[in-house]
Amino acid sequence: MRNLLILGAGTAGTMIANKLRKRLPREDWQITIVDRDDRHHYQPGYLFMPFGTYTEKQVVRSRHAFLPDGVDFVIADIDQVDPEASTVALTDGRNLPYDYLVIATGTTPRPDETPGMLGPEWRKSIFDFYTLEGSAALAKTLEHFDRGRLVVHVTEMPIKCPVAPLEFVFLAEAWLRGRGVRDRVELTYVTPLPGAFTKPAASEHLGSMLDERKIALEADFMVESIDNEAKTLVSYDEREIPFDLLVTVPLNMGADFVARSGMGDELNYVPVDKHTLQSKKYANVFAVGDASDIPASKAGSVAHFAVDIFVHNFLELIEGRPMTESFDGHANCFVESGDGKGLLIDFNYDTEPLPGRFPLPKVGPLDLLKESRANHLGKLAFRHIYWNVLLPGRPMPIPTHMSMAGKVTTSENKEK
């Protein structure tokens, strides 16, 4: 009997358990998955909670309900991995041996890493929206917010769902406008990046969307601390940004057990081959989803495409054959822009988000890098797809590898 041990029952871990249980004979393979609790969060839903669109019930379900029969679900905290002995120690004293290990424990916000973030103003005038608690608390405060300086801030890259802070500021702008108080609120978007987003075409397009909405952009801002008394963000190069309400995305880091196991980089991400997700150090260890150090967006879509590649390769690997599939860093993200509209971006390691049309069977093409009602509806529909199609490991109508079909490249743009 061989053991596949999966750490983390989030998007990547749950999908892997579902896909591999179907492919690995039960008499030969035991599959065990570990998580600290039985609450699976639909994390993209956090974005909508502050504006009252979603409730807690719609974004949290039992992890257990999404795991197939024949997979052992262990609820426990992970102490550390001993990659030399191929065992994982849990904090309750249990020791789980493995033949193959998948680390899928994601990344989490660490407000404690920025001096002053967890000060007296935390959850009073300083909020995060990347946790259920933070998002729920922010919803209560936003209800009464009708004047002053609203600052939306990203601490340091990489963060999970890198478009979410932009979506938040677009939604906040539309929401304030809808309540008739937009002209009493000064909106500022603060980022450590040189522009609105990471890749040139998308950065320019999203940057002009900030301009159109009269949202000020403060770029290249590396926060050093937050002054709770003066209510200001202070940068390493001594700029200060005052706020009445700060919505921040704290530093993101991988799980602490990764560091305790000596398997992580400076942010606790597991170094892996970016095409196979296999650990650079241990051939029987993989990191899939946000837990790895691949230079791709930390996003559910990336986890989904990476899982497809991993499953294919894993079945080859355990038969002693070379792994033949290669992950291209594919990401596919809806970006909410307010007023019931959204954009779609589709990109990978080598190709930045481009304008054009995204072919989608049955539904029809969606606009790329351009606001449309259909993209917003796609984003809302995705919650249902996530629970009912994606997590159970059913086939999705989106190709695993990024396709250039429908995309307009820069040279074509210039000709037009």
Binding site: E156, M157, P158, P162, L193, P194, T198, K199, D220, M222, E224, Y236, D237, D265, E266, L267, P295, A296, S297, G329, A331
Partner: protein, 104 residues
Amino acid sequence: MPVTTIEGHQIHVDDEGFMTEYDEWSEDLSKVLAAQIGIDLSDEHWQAIRFLRSDFAEQGETATLRRVSVQGGIPTKRLFQLFPKKPAKKMAYIAGLPKPQGCV
């Protein structure tokens, strides 16, 4: 890929002037590159640059500010003083390494 000549050294650079060939760099060249962006190299500057060079040789990527502070042992605040305004870019430029990748 453009080629440029700096004080007799022929080097390959990208559109923004970041060197693209690891082995074309030298300590002498570093001083010239630093002077171009108004930096006079002290021992502390060299500590950062040598960390970037050796880390790149191992990792194949230009270190982020966090990496220089955590692994290289130079606090971020100090890096902002040594290489004002845009330390990550300036360090990479002087160390003859590709521009640090904007994360995705």
